[in-house]
Symmetry: C2
Subunit: 188 residues, 2 copies
DNA sequence: TTGAATTTTCAGAAATTACTGAAAATTCAA
DNA sequence: TTGAATTTTCAGTAATTTCTGAAAATTCAA
């Protein structure tokens, strides 16, 4: 089962980049393949297409499922499980944001809150506490904004994309979503 | 040179999380330490405080410098170099965003553009091309929005933070920055 | 039930990444 | 200049992560 050059390039690239999203290379490749292949694939097909062992595919699928990033399908008369990604790419982005928030940002905020609460014992501790407060506020602010974006429906997000991407436009759109009114909407 | 508990917890946590930001554990620890320590530190001090070899510190500092994340200081009569982070934590966030965009997002967009251009030879390639176009548009949109945010001055961003963090508020703020006017500013 | 088909687990091997000590290179005061 | 102080480099080692094959577990049609 030979992959087209287009797919091979895409898969290889996301394999390399995958680690930045919290996966290893093969898991990145697997997801990339599922994302651009026109039909759901079973584990054996993935194993063959990417030349990785069946057991590695099994572990990779398990990890991707723990990220809620896969959809399962079955075909009549075939006991194998077939995997695909959500049809809507925006849905994928939303899930990744949510999961990363849960896995990385939330624990960091908890740690910072705990340490900021604890009475500092030294001058050093006092300074550290101040700095942690600044860091807490920054992360909290940004993550709340991201939460809100992630909470918008894929459909709303798509409308936003069509409007253009400037921060100003994004905001203008949000206004419409929440029913706000503005003087100079035509500027955007 | 014993670290306070507060600093130790913070350093350990960012060591673990560091890999998500593109660094390894020790580089994450080093930056965490420099971020919350009240004064600039030299390489020997970092080495001792974190119990890592002097050469490892040297390599870590080099990497952090390639990310433009360090400021250098000197003290009269002392030949050692002293390192600290930008005073403003928002400046740190802005630089990380810019560097990650340059190192990860830009190459991905280039790859996608190239592959989308290339005429597909198979049905599979045709479908892949479609999907890549969707992905390209999403990444491009989001990254343009992030670029704009990163381009705002730390001072403007701080004002934004003080206003609160809802998307709506962010937009309202951007309006003020760009001189726009709105009916119901008092709602935010 | 049974057993063939399928998926999962996991111990060990392979590959990759991080770290160290020693040596080389650089810097700068005298 | 010289040489002591300091920083960087890098080959080898250590630690970690990823991957595999074999075996165990699960599923389900007959």
């Amino acid at each position: 089962m030979k992959l087209s050059t287009k797919i091979e390039t895409f898969v290889a690239h996301f394999g390399e980049m995958g680690s930045r999203w919290g996966f290893n290379r093969t898991v990145g490749q697997m997801y990339a393949l599922l994302m651009i292949y026109s039909r759901p694939l079973n584990a054996d097909e993935i194993s063959e297409m990417l030349s990785i062992s069946r057991s590695n595919v099994s572990m990779g699928l398990k990890e991707l499922q723990s990220w809620r990033l896969l959809k399962l399908t079955h075909y009549p008369g075939d006991r194998k499980e077939y995997y695909k990604t959500p049809d809507d790419i925006i849905e994928v982005a939303r899930i990744v944001l949510e999961e990363r928030h849960k896995r990385e940002v939330a624990p960091t905020l908890t740690m910072l809150r705990d340490e900021i609460m604890r009475e500092p014992v030294s001058e050093e501790g006092k300074y550290a506490q101040q700095r942690m407060t600044e860091i807490y506020e920054l992360i909290d602010t940004v993550s709340k904004a991201v939460d809100e974006l992630a909470a918008l429906s894929p459909n709303d997000l798509r409308k936003m994309m069509k409007m253009g991407s400037s921060v100003a436009s994004l905001f203008a759109f949000k206004d419409k979503l929440v029913g706000g009114k503005r003087d100079k909407a035509e500027e955007y």
